[in-house]
């Protein structure tokens, strides 16, 4: 039976994940339920090791859950999920390609077959957008950590996947540049009506961008609280953090997160 209308874009139904090492089993994620709607921007926040990245890997089909079902468009994810664009924490740029050639790669694939001229125009446009003009012909080894992140971001955005999975994409950027990137990301994802799952440890970043913030507990990961962010859009990423509504939300969520962060560092 077609379930398209009723099913969420992404569904996690009692999804848990255990990793078996040589002599013991580590529970990375306790069984959780989470539904993400089409065009929704969801931020996952929590201490390191709480299983946030594991959730992205499960949605991308890179991992299979130990229990429960991960579904995408109402269908269980059992292989690589090619509907998503995944920007991993480690940038996976190809060292032998220049920045521009790295960004172009998704457009070269047969499944898209973008004509050369159009691909070049789109590469030029997105390089401008992420502020890398002048570095098109640099190799990844010649770029700073922050620049490599922006190349990785551009490479994921350029083919406009319907769903974007991002794992701490702006961790390596300085504060000013980060705000600029947040602004661009909001603009792009809204314009193209993307569904976004955004992992971060920066609560401010999460509230600025997200429709919903999910706070995770320390390992083994569980959902501690989910809050809607009712701030009107489009949001001014440069000023919103000074608004009263933002401060209230930040305060409330920080109370939840604080315990987990301290608990996480104890272990």
């Amino acid at each position: 039976m077609p379930r398209g209308d009723l099913a969420p874009k992404i569904g996690l139904d009692r999804v848990g994940k255990r990793f078996v090492t040589r002599d013991r089993e580590v529970e990375a994620l306790q069984p959780i339920d989470l539904s993400i709607q089409d065009h929704e921007f969801v931020a996952l926040v929590g201490p390191s090791g709480c299983g946030k990245s594991t959730i992205l890997n499960l949605i991308a089909g890179l991992l299979q859950p130990s229990g429960g079902v991960v579904s995408y468009d109402g269908v269980a994810v059992s292989a690589l999920n090619r509907q998503v664009g995944y920007m991993t924490q480690k940038d996976t740029l190809l060292p032998w390609r220049t920045a521009a050639d790295n960004i172009r790669i998704a457009l070269e694939l047969k499944c898209r077959a973008v004509p050369r001229a159009e691909a070049n125009a789109r590469v030029k446009q997105i390089i401008e957008l992420v502020g890398l003009t002048g570095f098109e012909r640099h190799y990844p080894a010649e770029l700073s950590g922050g620049m490599r992140k922006r190349v990785a971001l551009a490479r994921t955005l350029i083919y406009e996947p319907e769903t974007l999975l991002m794992d701490e994409p702006f961790g390596a950027l300085d504060a000013q540049l980060k705000l600029l990137m947040l602004d661009q990301l909001q603009e792009l994802t809204r314009q193209r009506r993307m569904t976004v799952v955004f992992v971060t440890h920066d609560l401010g970043e999460a509230i600025t961008l997200a429709d919903r913030v999910v706070v995770f507990s320390a390992r083994p990961g569980r959902i501690r609280v989910i809050r809607n962010v009712d701030l009107p859009r489009p949001r001014d990423v440069f000023r919103i953090r000074f608004s009263e509504a933002f401060a209230r939300l930040h305060e409330a969520l920080w109370d939840e997160l604080k315990d987990e962060v301290t608990r996480g560092t104890d272990v």
Binding site: A60, L62, L80, N81, R82, V84, G85, Y86, T88, K90, T92, L94, P95, W96, I105, A106, E108, L109, K110, C111, R112, Y139, A141, Y159
Partner: protein, 271 residues
């Protein structure tokens, strides 16, 4: 002041002057020339006729070389050595890369055959030369086969190492973008493996040269190695030394060529 004047109990000025002279390019070249002439003169003018039979003399050797140039036998044999080496090297490299990629992509198949490969890789291939002669004859085919086999295992192993060392995150990220298996191979696996393949190819050149020569020494009807073996066999020292001289020139030429190519590649390669 030159460092040689530090040595106690020597005449500093003369020694220092000689040392300074030897450290200039002209001085070094001149000294080298004098040394060469001395050795050649001693060789040429040594009086013992018995020794002359075993050692020949520089003038006789050059004269013999010149007669080979005139009658064309030099080019025929140099050509045979170069051809056997080049053919064997090309065949070995092509098949080594192809099978290396294939086994790299099919690790389960590789695990089945790996004991054979390890055993054959470890074995000195030159031991198979007599067998190849029996099967393929004394012509160039048996030498090509031996060189190809030697190069094949070297290139196969470095290609396999390369494929195994490809970062899985790179291949997975391209697959997530919607790449087909073939696109992942063409855009990630092969380029990432190239430096490893080049390493294997570089190492193989010397093995190819050595084994070509060894095969010619063992049993052949042409080639520089064959000439050395032939003239030694008929106690013609002049001929043997003339052939060895050709071999020295070829070795130096090959080394220079390799240095040139490697210099070019390290300039062209960006990481």
């Amino acid at each position: 002041m030159s460092h040689s004047s530090i040595i106690a109990g020597t005449a500093p000025t003369n020694r220092a002057r000689l040392a300074d002279f030897l450290s200039t390019t002209i001085g070094r070249t001149l000294a080298r020339l004098v040394l060469t002439l001395l050795i050649l003169a001693a060789w040429q003018f040594q009086p013992d006729q018995n020794l002359r039979f075993w050692m020949s003399g520089p003038l006789q050797i050059v004269a013999r070389l010149w007669s080979w140039v005139l009658d064309g036998s030099l080019w025929g044999n140099v050509g045979a050595t170069v051809l056997a080496m080049a053919l064997g090297y090309s065949i070995g490299t092509a098949s080594g890369v192809a099978l290396g990629l294939l086994f790299g992509l099919m690790p389960r198949v590789y695990r089945v055959v790996s004991p054979y490969i390890t055993a054959l890789y470890a074995m000195p291939k030159i031991a198979l030369a007599p067998l190849f002669v029996i099967v393929l004859g004394i012509g160039i085919e048996s030498r090509v086969a031996l060189v190809a086999l030697t190069v094949f295992f070297l290139v196969l192993n470095s290609t396999l190492d390369g494929v195994r060392n490809v970062d899985r995150d790179l291949t997975r990220s391209l697959a997530l973008m919607g790449a087909t298996r073939f696109e992942v191979i063409a855009k990630v696996l092969v380029p990432a493996t190239l430096p490893w393949i080049f390493t294997g190819m570089r190492i193989s050149v010397r093995y190819a040269f050595t084994n070509t020569l060894l095969a010619e020494l063992i049993a052949a009807n042409s080639g520089i190695g064959f000439m050395i073996e032939y003239y030694s066999g008929v106690f013609d020292a002049t001929g043997a030394y003339a052939a060895i001289l050709v071999l020295v020139i070829m070795s130096v030429g090959l080394t220079e060529l390799l240095t040139l190519i490697e210099g070019r590649m390290s300039h062209g390669h960006r990481h």
